[in-house]
């Protein structure tokens, strides 16, 4: 479904990604782990069109999307939940969700998806009219995911959805990710909480200072001594 081939990405003169390649098959959960500053967020931003790769290709459903503007990538079915939630603080929960469906024309479908989001996150229904800036961290994270779902993506890019969340909330979020996946959305997940991520993912990539250093089925990586040593706290 998604095929990234040898991309290089720069911030000014600083190279953040060096020849990164990766693949995501339809229906999978693929996770991307790596230390701080390894380039995980950079990769997601490149996929969603916020950054343009200097070299390399990105194939998505037979189309090249490298360097396309973000809005046309969203239109093609890729939705990105950015690091740090980034909800529109001075707008209500409902308005945030409406913005998620910004490009959609099928009003009927949008209405159904509203219901679906409220079903997944009953909390959001309660807080429909609240300004999203006043939500708690966990609620904002739910909103960010709900907003992405509203775009009815085929591929969902999630950047550290568990960051800063209380344990109970982390659990909830991960089970919702699985649920969204079961309902047919392919997921590319970036996580620091590698244990959790690997336990729900089909496959995983490990990225280090801008390059992919390991990849394989999630279970295999979870078992690998090296990976444990470096990313799972040596346990």
């Amino acid at each position: 479904m998604l095929k990234v081939h040898q991309i290089d990405v720069f911030y000014g003169n600083i190279q953040a990604l060096k020849g990164v390649s990766l693949e995501v098959q339809e229906g999978e959960i693929v996770t991307l782990i790596g230390a701080n500053g390894a380039g995980k967020s950079t990769l997601l931003k490149t996929l969603s069109g916020l950054l343009k790769p200097k070299k390399g290709t990105i194939q998505y459903l037979e189309n090249s999307i490298a360097g396309k503007p973000a809005q046309s990538i969203v239109k093609a079915g890729i939705s990105h939940v950015p690091e740090g939630r980034r909800v529109f603080a001075n707008m209500t929960v409902e308005e945030n969700l409406q913005l998620g469906a910004y490009l959609r024309k099928d009003l009927q479908g949008v209405k159904q998806d509203f219901e679906r989001v409220y079903e997944l996150f009953p909390r959001l229904l309660e807080r429909k009219k609240q300004l999203s800036g006043t939500l708690s961290g966990g609620e904002q994270q739910m909103l960010a995911m709900g907003r992405a779902i509203m775009a009815k993506p085929k591929l969902l890019l999630l950047d550290e959805p568990s960051m800063g969340l209380a344990p109970l909330m982390v659990k909830t979020i991960f089970s919702i990710i699985e649920e969204i996946n079961r309902a047919g959305t392919t997921i590319l997940l970036v996580e620091q909480n590698a244990h959790m991520a690997l336990s729900i993912a089909n496959r995983a990539y490990v990225i280090e200072t801008g390059s992919v250093v390991a990849s394989g089925p999630a279970a295999e990586l979870q078992a690998s001594e090296q990976i444990k040593e470096a990313y799972l706290g040596g346990l």
């Binding site: 701080n36 800063g164 909330m169 620091q192 909480n193 040593e229 706290g233």
Partner: protein, 267 residues
Amino acid sequence: MGSNPLLKVQSAGIQFGGLKAVWDFNMEIHQGELVGLIGPNGAGKTTCFNLLTGVYVPTEGDISLEGQRLNGLAPYQVTRKGISRTFQNIRLFNELSVLDNVKVAYHSLAKHSIVSSIFRLPSHFSGEKEMEEKSIEFLKIFQLEPYLYEKAKNLPYGMQRRLEIARALAAGPKLLLLDEPAAGMNPQETHELMELIAFVREKFNLTILLIEHDMKLVMGICERIYVLDHGQLIADGTPNEIRNNPKVIEAYLGEEAAESHAESSPN
């Protein structure tokens, strides 16, 4: 435990508009303790820190450090009394070098005046020299010495966190407040951080209060834990008491998490 607590908070609280963000908050921390503060998102943990450090003025209650009342003091005065902190979202002086970041924290310990600096009197040179030497010494402890002249914003995330802790320590606190120091770190990095916290506590004979969602860290190093929910304390006690407290499990940990923590597995 000694009789006189270092920090004493008596039914402190604050409202924002109609919202009672924290109320009837009581806490006692004794010299040398390492205490955790946990609770769901939006429970009011960071707000408590803001009350303790003078960012917010409590609308009710009392806060005192070594018997001295802190209510109404400005943040910089609180810092000079002996409480310093790190922030949930890193707040370094981005354009300043690593060294200068720490020097700023030494500011209030130096004595040379504006006049002596403008006229380059001897006291300026001796004062600056002392600040510089102390800061470098300090950064050595945190293994940041190789980056002395690097701008803070150019450091990798993990190092920025470390620099923030170093800077807070340079202000010479009796009580150090850490707000989610492990957020955004992977398990390996978190592990290193735990060791660092244990080390500085030993080295500087510190009292520490920390907020964290990583239960492995909290349960691993804290001696006592306070649990906040909806702005109110719902429990306090040792890690073991907390992890088995049904209220805490319901509000915060979740069933499985509690179980797995019991086995001290890091999920």
